[in-house]
Symmetry: C2
Subunit: 500 residues, 2 copies
């Protein structure tokens, strides 16, 4: 194990996870590795939670990460060890504590957190999962980079968890570039998805590394939701749109670098790409999912850039034991770079992300059920949606067996405004909103996207609202009536009133 | 006059405005110069409107500009000559026609329009106000650059209006850089506000210039709203905050490049800077207003970059007749560059913009009264708010003599989400939202910003909403009740019910 520590003077700092967790003090700002349950720090959070379970403990930490963690989020939240959490989570226990007001959630655009830390939010302790430590103290991340570089740079102290389940072949996969403090910052010199502009490990003064812990646990595997008829339909609309864009000369047959959020539609789109008449595709995304590696295997994708892997158990094992096959065609970057507006706009990324619901003018709610209760967080969707060359949001037209319409008069929480959305897709169809006025958008959203059951009610709302005039006509008295009805009856559908 | 056309072969293309307006055909996409009533094309729109008044006409054009036009917007809109309008306007007649549904308004982030055009929205005709035409056909803009470069690049045909009221000393003030089509785009190599990366005129194939018209009208002057006690208070809070940031080491005494929207608070802040302990300030903004030149005169500002001037009559005359004093310290760029996320984030701009209203979680409505009726448009506020190093929104705590609260439970239109807002300011105080959870934000927004008359009602809403749980707790049944009450009674205040 010690051979993973290439700086011999650091070998004396090996400690147990239980020892290391004792260094965590109440009120500390702790920055940890981990993004979409990948490359997250594992042994120390577990040791902390176990210590609390056995011994009781009044410590509470402020926990900042790349994005969602694996077991750590649920271990720490269920033991009430977290006071503040940011910038993203997707864990049941954490979500519950946030919605009860017990955890203060500092939800942020995923490209913003590094700036926030650089600008003065202190990081007392960074805990980073690594493949190895280089001779100069450099920390080689594992299956995600996330915010680890800025955490290490800004932290008072660093603890490294070397994960022996991660193969040393990961060394060289990462490209660690940290923008300078302002003023005097340079351009981020990425003009192609395969550009490398940094180094293979996170620079770290060896003096800051106060402890090294070993673990050998694989990442928690992601659950792939298999495509169903509806997600395949949605993927089909998107693929047709892309073919249309190529025919119109707006995209080449290589398309543009693709980004997709985690989810079944994105997976279905990527599966569909295997048969589609595109070639030499590139990925510039946050998260590389199974589908990216399938596309490598079918020779459809030439290069993929991301800030983490999120893989099923099978694909994880396959990728980690066949890294030599992929390592020249992938790069893992800090999330500040994978999600940077500068690079996303320069490359003209095609961004595909999921919505919870959309309104008739194209505003998107990605996060808050009924406007109050958070699911996960905005994540990187805003970084991509605002800056992409083509911004697509997908949602099934209904949820809960039709009792909820995902196309509503007014979304009770806005993550992405009408100005940040080009294309909306449901299993009912596709709405191309580019260059349309709000009233034109309303017509195409209602006609193309809404479930037939809800169409008349939407037409009726829009028609009556328009009589009052306006650029985005609304009837505020009833804008949320559908959500209210759902809260009262468990069903958005109006059973008695015949509309129109 | 002809000497302003440095390419002699083009002198034969001089025509009258009335002749030129006849070339405008029904349904054309027309891209015109003009940004905040500066450097807008003047003679041809007037001739078009006059022709219609006299002769009748069924033509309707799609009119795209940089931002707001002067007389042209009202001349064309009141004559029903506009079918579609984008990306911004601030004209009474145009606004009226949009809200009646007669003009389709393609409201966009001001940095987005150029990408939209580059990506295939056709421009049939560009009409550009110029100081001069260079020997190679280059068009030297006047007091704004706006979207003129992309319109000229993409247009089938170009008409130039040479404005003899604009001094030739303007030549050299502009820096015209047009990002490449993707893929293969380079970084925008601006790392300091005074970097020049382009050329002094808009490149144009002389063959595309089908006509040249002369005019000699100055820009419509802007109306400076003089500061009142409340705007001075708000400016005071912002200046204190900036001093605090310097003390905390987050900003140097040069601060960071400043951006401000048009409006009285921004003017008051800039006036306050004359006395403030900052030095060698820089401006990286859309619009240079009077205050920027006052700051030059008091030697507080060393350089200013923008995409237009918006000046009072006196300041306009002063600046245009003393250009030699300023010309080495200013640059006018295309709005795609002045508002580019890449540059704004790299420079860490301090952005100060106006809100119509804010909600208890920090979402901002800048545009739509009661959620339906547009005032002007989102303009560049989103380009700056999302990417700035410090994002500030200002609004008085009430409007209409207290009958409207600008701090409300839920904004009926979201232009800037809770994730894009660092600081909110009213005359009541300042709220620093950085690093706060939504519930923490609600408390500080209510306590620091709301008018005393509305505080109890906001506290009551938030308290009852929180009982239902959530990350951003809301009571959707009454989220818009204040707006509804205003629509019904002309007053948001609840006269009979005693709250709490």
């Amino acid at each position: 194990m010690e051979h993973r520590i290439h700086n011999p003077s650091l070998r004396s700092r090996i400690v147990s996870a239980d020892e290391a967790q004792k260094w965590i003090r109440d009120g500390m700002n702790v920055g940890v590795s981990g993004f979409t349950r990948s490359g997250d720090v594992k042994a120390i959070p577990r040791a902390l939670a176990e210590y609390k379970k056995k011994m009781g403990d009044t410590r509470r930490i402020n926990l900042y990460s790349g994005a969602s963690l694996g077991e750590a989020d649920s271990d720490l939240s269920s033991q009430h060890l977290v006071g503040r959490r940011g910038p993203y989570q997707s864990d049941r226990d954490t979500r519950g504590a946030i919605n009860r007001g017990e955890i203060q959630y500092i939800e942020q655009h995923l490209s913003h957190t590094a700036e926030w830390v650089r600008n003065g939010e202190p990081i007392d302790l960074a805990i980073i999962e690594a493949v190895a430590i280089t001779e100069d103290g450099g920390i080689v991340p594992t299956t995600s980079v996330g915010n680890s570089p800025i955490f290490v740079q800004q932290a008072e102290q660093v603890i490294v968890e070397i994960n022996m389940a991660m193969p040393e072949e990961l060394i060289g996969v990462h490209d660690i570039y940290i923008p300078e403090k302002r003023p005097g910052r340079s351009p981020i010199n990425i003009t192609r998805v395969d550009d490398r502009i940094g180094r293979a490990s996170i620079p770290c003064d060896p003096m800051k590394i106060v402890g090294i812990v070993f673990n050998d646990e694989p990442d928690s595997p992601s659950t792939i939701v298999p495509p169903d008829g509806e997600t395949e339909q949605m993927a089909g609309y998107i693929l047709e749109l892309l073919e249309h864009e190529v025919k119109q000369g707006r995209l080449s047959e290589r398309l543009a670098p693709l980004q997709s959020g985690v989810g079944s539609v994105a997976n279905a789109v990527f599966n569909g790409l295997e048969q589609a008449p595109f070639d030499q595709l590139e990925i510039y995304t946050e998260v590389m999912q199974d589908a990216v590696f399938h596309l490598f295997d079918s020779d459809k994708v030439s290069f993929a850039s991301g800030c983490s892997f999120t893989l099923s158990r099978e694909m994880r094992d396959h990728v980690l034991s066949n890294l030599s096959k992929y390592r020249d065609r992938i790069v893992l970057r800090p999330q500040e770079i994978s999600n940077h507006p500068e690079v996303i706009r320069r490359l003209g990324v095609i961004a595909i992300n999921a919505a919870l619901e959309v309104d008739i003018y194209g505003n998107v709610n990605s996060t808050h059920v009924s406007g109050s209760h958070i699911m996960n967080g905005i994540g990187g969707s805003g970084d991509f949606a605002r800056n992409a060359g083509l911004t697509i949001f997908v949602t099934k037209s209904t949820a809960k067996d039709g009792r909820i319409s995902s196309v509503v008069p007014f979304v009770p929480h806005v993550d992405h405004t009408e100005h940040d959305v080009d294309i909306l897709v449901t299993e009912q169809g596709i709405a191309d909103l580019r260059g349309l006025s709000p009233r034109e958008r309303a017509r195409v959203i209602i006609e193309n996207l809404a479930h037939p059951y809800y169409k008349d009610a939407l037409r009726d709302y829009f028609k009556r609202a328009s009589q009052g005039g306006g650029n985005t006509p609304h009837l505020l008295q009833e804008a949320f009536s559908w959500h209210n009805r759902y809260q009262e009856t468990g069903d958005m559908r109006q059973r008695e009133l015949v509309l129109l």
